[in-house]
């Protein structure tokens, strides 16, 4: 009896051990790809361990590719040209235009490195880094906007152009279990390389804004990467028309402070719209720029001033206010930052007043 029992158990155990061994060997040989060489732009060569996706592998090598969804294939930002990586997966195709597919554009988070690859990346991406920083101050600008000041730790300095943004990493907290990234414009000028300022407006049920407004404290460590974006001052002498609302102040503040520091003397009018006085902020700071930048005018407007505001400035929708001041926009260029419909309305208003569409620049990293 015992012999039969032992035989039965022995056979099943033996068989399973054999199958398990087979699987381990298979995994060893099939799932390990060894080192692969990535050749970037035909110049830079990186030797990386194969098997992972391109996005996280490059990130580990210090090369950042824009991504907002952390590699889950749901933002479509990580487009890279991969010359011998094969056809795009079903998960990528909806994000790629036919001409991009023909040019071998792939989503870096969906490309698995199995052999040597040749990549083509835009040069601007080489400047993108990941930064560790510490919170040095959290200041209320309005009832729902906080100004966050971060001091860089590693690397200790950042180089960027006024108007660019960074991606702030929100670590898992409360109910979240994965880090998430959200984009915010740098509101401090580039002359300050050791610290950056961000303006963060609280959004109900917002992942990042709830973390910043309810959980973040002075002294906490913070991770971000950047700089990103093309919303920067174009060289030249054209008069500037800037229109913004709400947290659209941030990149324009950086741009105008930068102008003041560099002594750039271009005529500029900055129209900033808010609902009532409690939504206005940094008015004195922006007004002070009028003495530092010849030809700069700061024009705040309230669309819905309350009687207790005792507001004597401009009233109405910011696009209407700007329209009143700028009957002819044909010689100027415009910088817009705000909600998509503010931008839409502003573009309509400006083109009606003669501004060519290609001279209207707006921050649309939404």
């Amino acid at each position: 009896m015992l012999n039969e029992f032992l035989l039965g158990v022995g056979v099943v155990t033996g068989l399973n051990a054999f199958l398990a061994l087979l699987l381990v060997l298979a995994e060893r040989t099939l799932s390990h790809y060894g080192p692969c060489t990535l050749t970037i732009n035909d110049e830079k060569k990186l030797v990386v361990p194969g098997g992972q996706d391109l996005l996280s592998t490059l990130k580990r090598e210090g090369l950042f590719i824009p991504s907002a969804c952390g590699g889950r294939g749901s933002c479509g930002l990580c487009k890279v040209t991969v010359l011998d990586g094969g056809d795009p997966l079903a998960t990528e195709i909806p994000w790629l235009k036919p001409e991009e597919i023909a040019r071998h554009v792939r989503l870096a988070c969906q490309v698995r490195i199995k052999h040597d690859l040749r990549l083509q990346l835009p040069r601007e991406w080489f400047a993108i880094r990941q930064f560790q920083a510490t919170v040095v101050s959290i200041r209320d600008l309005t009832h729902d906007i906080k100004e966050l000041r971060l001091r860089l730790v590693d690397p200790p300095e950042i180089e960027f152009q006024a108007g660019q943004f960074i991606q702030l990493e929100v670590p898992p907290y409360e109910l979240t279990d994965e880090p998430v990234y959200r984009a915010y414009s740098i509101s401090s000028p580039p002359s300050n390389r050791r610290e950056i300022e961000l303006e963060i407006r609280y959004v109900p049920n917002g992942l990042c804004t709830t973390w910043v407004h309810r959980h973040l404290n002075v002294g906490d460590p913070v991770t971000f990467n950047g700089p990103y974006g093309q919303f920067v001052l174009r060289p030249g002498n054209r008069p500037i028309i800037a229109i913004a609302g709400g947290s659209g102040m941030a990149p324009l503040k950086a741009i105008f402070l930068d102008m003041a520091e560099k002594g750039i003397a271009r005529s500029a009018r900055y129209f900033f719209g808010a609902r009532s006085r409690r939504d206005l902020f940094l008015v004195e700071e922006m007004k002070a720029l009028e003495t530092r930048i010849p030809g700069f005018q700061f024009i705040p407007a309230l669309s819905n001033p309350l009687p207790e505001d005792r507001w004597e400035g401009e009233t109405g929708l910011i696009t209407e206010v700007a329209a009143r001041h700028v009957p002819d926009a044909s010689g100027a260029e415009a910088y817009l930052c705000g909600s998509s419909f503010l931008i839409k309305a502003a573009i309509a208003m400006l083109t009606e007043r003669g501004m060519p569409r290609e001279r209207i620049y707006f921050d649309d990293f939404g």
């Binding site: 039965g8 699987l23 099939l30």
Partner: protein, 197 residues
Amino acid sequence: MNPFTAWFALFFAAVFTQNILLTNYLGMCPFLGASREIKTSFGLGAAVVFVMTFTTPLNWILYHRLLIPLGLEYLGLIVFICLIAAFTQLIELVIERVSDALYASLGIFLPLITVNCAILGASLFMVARSYTFLQTTAYGFGGGLGWMLAILAMAGIRQRIAKNRLPRGLEGAGIALIIAGLMAMAFTGFTGITAPS
């Protein structure tokens, strides 16, 4: 009947008249849950064909060359499950290596196949009907193909009626089972070609 014809007869029976899904009602769960689209059904069906074609003969070898000589036939069920699970895992590794695109579209279905009772059912029938090795190859391949045929037909029909209004309560599983029943009846029209036992 020469062996060639016999093989084909058994193969034909496995696909049509003794269709493991429509006659024995095995493998219903993924059949009902994942048969809304032809594309996904094709992927799932192909994976089932592959696994069933190889695991059934492999299980024959294990049963007749290992278990019977040792008098351990009663361990058949456990041994079959272990082999099916290991085989499925191995196939997943191979596909992952060979083709990312195939893995992305098929991959998620492979782990599901391990629990598809049609696969286990084929091995158990192979034992119950005392098939020879050759007969097992016909039965394994035919059974898988028959399952795939059934799920493709189901997906085609469901895709066709996707926009139609159905009586409330019959949506989803209700209509799927009715379709399955009608298909099963249609397939018995092939009776006349019986499998040699």
